[in-house]
Symmetry: C2
Subunit: 143 residues, 2 copies
């Protein structure tokens, strides 16, 4: 018998060196509102999951994994609804403490995308992908 | 004027050394079904976002960021609906090529959680968190 767990990510937690510096990127850059914050952790309610930005030593202790490295072998993507939204958002993220990794250009599948690292070197792809629908409440579907 | 972008993560992309080895962890361990796969990338439709497991050199080229490191300073969480679901899932993940980082125990906020790394050292927290509701369609809400 094959056991199947639902296809669900509940939380993405990023290790953060300086919570105030990171907050500026997410709150002033993306314009997101924390749902909870204290000096060690900030939670943002996302589209069916939660984003946590947590002081790295606390995350390492929770994971029982010392010496977490940067930049990690992963990327997060935020998809915008219009082609013309990509570059202004990337500019706001860089102005809020991000670092440009790749200027926006067209990927092979069409649309537009670039990459900006947050102040802790976590990579965000900012993409307009006309092939993948985004529902009114922000659910993104592979297509 | 403050610009605000919707609070949305469209894709979580993990850098993978060996796609077949990683597939075993996600397909046989979690029991998830790919929505698309080829020898370089596998996509899984999740709860309002997409999980991508992509050959690391291709991700590095796309991000214009060489030498991505492991383990990265991040964790993903998968929340189960019942206390008694945590440990059997962790066991299945380890049997499918995962590595135990932290055996399940009770966090300060209650419930139960442990951590298992996937074959590429990406950390998954497997958690029962009675305070955070999970909707019928898998949306997780901070509470």
């Amino acid at each position: 018998m094959v056991e199947r767990s639902e296809q669900q990510i509940a939380v993405v937690t990023l290790g953060i060196a300086d919570i105030a510096r990171s907050r500026r990127f997410y709150v002033d850059g993306f314009g997101w509102k924390p749902v909870f914050e204290n000096p060690e952790i900030i939670f943002y309610q996302m589209n069916g999951l939660v984003l946590a930005t947590w002081h790295t030593p606390a995350l390492e202790e929770d994971m029982k994994t010392p010496d977490l490295a940067r930049p990690g072998a992963f990327a997060l993507a935020h998809n915008v609804r219009r082609h013309q939204d990509v570059e202004p958002l990337m500019s706001r993220l860089v102005a809020a403490g991000g670092r440009l990794l790749r200027a926006a250009d067209a990927p092979p599948q069409g649309g537009l995308r670039g990459y900006v690292a947050d102040p802790d070197s976590h990579a965000w792809e900012i993409a307009f992908n006309p092939a993948w629908p985004i529902s009114a409440d922000g659910r993104v579907t592979f297509a």
